[in-house]
Amino acid sequence: MGQQGDSIADQILANLPTVVGLIGMFIIASLYWTDPGWDFAVTLRNSVTLSLPWPVGIVSVLLIRRHVRNIMRSESTLPYDVVIVGSAAVMVVLGLVSGPGDATLAALYANVNIIGTMSVISAIAISILSPMIRIYRAKTWTMAFLIGLSILAFMTYSPLGQMIHPIIPQLGDFVQIYISGASDSAFWISTYIGAIALITRMILLKEKLKPN
């Protein structure tokens, strides 16, 4: 927007980081078509990967700092801010003193974050069943079709269908393998085409990689 009147040279200068980035992108992409890869491309790829701890570190510190400030301002969330900052501090101290392999550090991570993840992932089941019960009404033919398929899926992926007739799970598996499989492919492939179009827009400096 607002760049149509500029000369190509002006545009390139104004978008120098993007141009450099695009050159970097094609240097890296070339690795796919070369065997073995060329040294400069490999060095560039590795350097970017190796530098990633910096942004992660910066935003993690910002996250903790936000809660430190809340503590200092005695916000209403005080007890929770103390827990966040305190637990983060314990982890950092353990990690820096005993190393990242410290047993307590690993145990805390396993018994808080890994189990927390499993909890959130398991909560998906209830979060799906709830809207299914609320929403699934055959108001249109499409909805009726959707409900029919859901019943088929429930019968296929539990012993219910097999108990009624073996053809039911066979039908469900057929739908899953051949129709859902094709649908999944179309989804991904349209996304990949979209990604290549995005890169074309980037090459023509039409996609914003910086805010102004």
Binding site: T34, S60, L63, R69, P131, I135, G194, A195
Partner: protein, 255 residues
């Protein structure tokens, strides 16, 4: 340094795809495009949040994940420019209305870029003072993101949410269920197909797959990005042709 050129067939497909899109950029200008529901709906969400007097949740989850280049990463990276531009435009819309935007992401680089784009949006709207850097929420993992989002939804009684990005193992539905509890308007477009199925279940407005990557082009007045979208149709039509005509030729033993 010597190396050999490999996978030449894919290289040819790659070059032809780019060529098609580049030519389209200049030839197909002015072609009429259909609507993408989430573009307009995102601004509607700002207005809904204004009416309800609550902040707007702008959650992008794993968008920008795999900056290190995992094989599945292109799609999460392709979402970055589109969602950032949307964030900026939403910020511009929200700033004069006094709506607070609370973001959530699990990607560090994306969190930093969000800060930059959101600040610019508030500045362009003439309200730089309204920008609160602490509303850019980075979480160390998806679990922290989901649990904190749910907490914020309840605590601020969130009235509208734009969730364009990606979540882990369809955990977006846990956030959606919390949004249902507060009666929030939900605009969603997810990266992964299984996450999209969750959005299809409950979202008020939904876009998916390449539609989400195209949002940046829809937000621009420039005809060239839209012409490139038109070029995408040529590639899709070609691939459909490969399946239909190629299928016949293979089946009849010609190929």
């Amino acid at each position: 340094m010597s190396f050999q050129l490999v996978r030449v067939d894919i290289l040819a497909v790659f070059i032809v795809s780019f060529g098609t899109l580049l030519v389209s950029a200049f030839v197909l200008k002015g072609t009429k495009l259909r609507q993408i529901p989430t573009v307009e709906a995102s601004f509607e969400a700002v207005r809904v949040a204004t009416e309800k007097g609550t902040p707007l949740l702008f959650d992008t989850g794993w968008t920008g994940a795999n900056f290190w280049g995992h094989s599945s990463g292109l799609t999460t990276l392709a979402f970055v420019p589109a969602t950032l531009e949307l964030l900026k435009q939403i910020s511009k819309e929200a700033a004069p209305l006094g709506v607070r935007i609370i973001t959530g992401t699990t990607n560090a680089v994306y969190a930093m870029m969000s800060r930059d784009f959101m600040e610019a949006g508030y500045a362009e709207a003439g309200h730089p003072e309204a920008f609160v850097p602490e509303d850019i929420n980075f979480y160390p993992d998806n679990t922290g993101l989901v649990m904190s989002d749910v907490d914020k939804i309840h605590r601020y009684n969130i009235g509208a949410a734009v969730m364009i990005g990606g979540h882990n193992q369809t955990s977006n539905i846990v956030i959606y269920e919390a949004l249902h509890a507060t009666g929030a308007m939900l605009v969603a477009g997810e990266i992964w197909p299984n996450d999209n199925s969750m959005a299809a279940l409950v979202a008020d407005y939904l876009s998916f797959a390449e539609e989400n990557i195209a949002i940046g082009a829809y937000l621009s007045d420039d005809p060239v990005p839209k012409a490139i979208l038109a070029g995408e149709d040529l590639i899709k039509a070609f691939l459909i042709g490969v399946v239909v005509i190629g299928g016949l030729l293979f089946g009849l033993g010609v190929l």
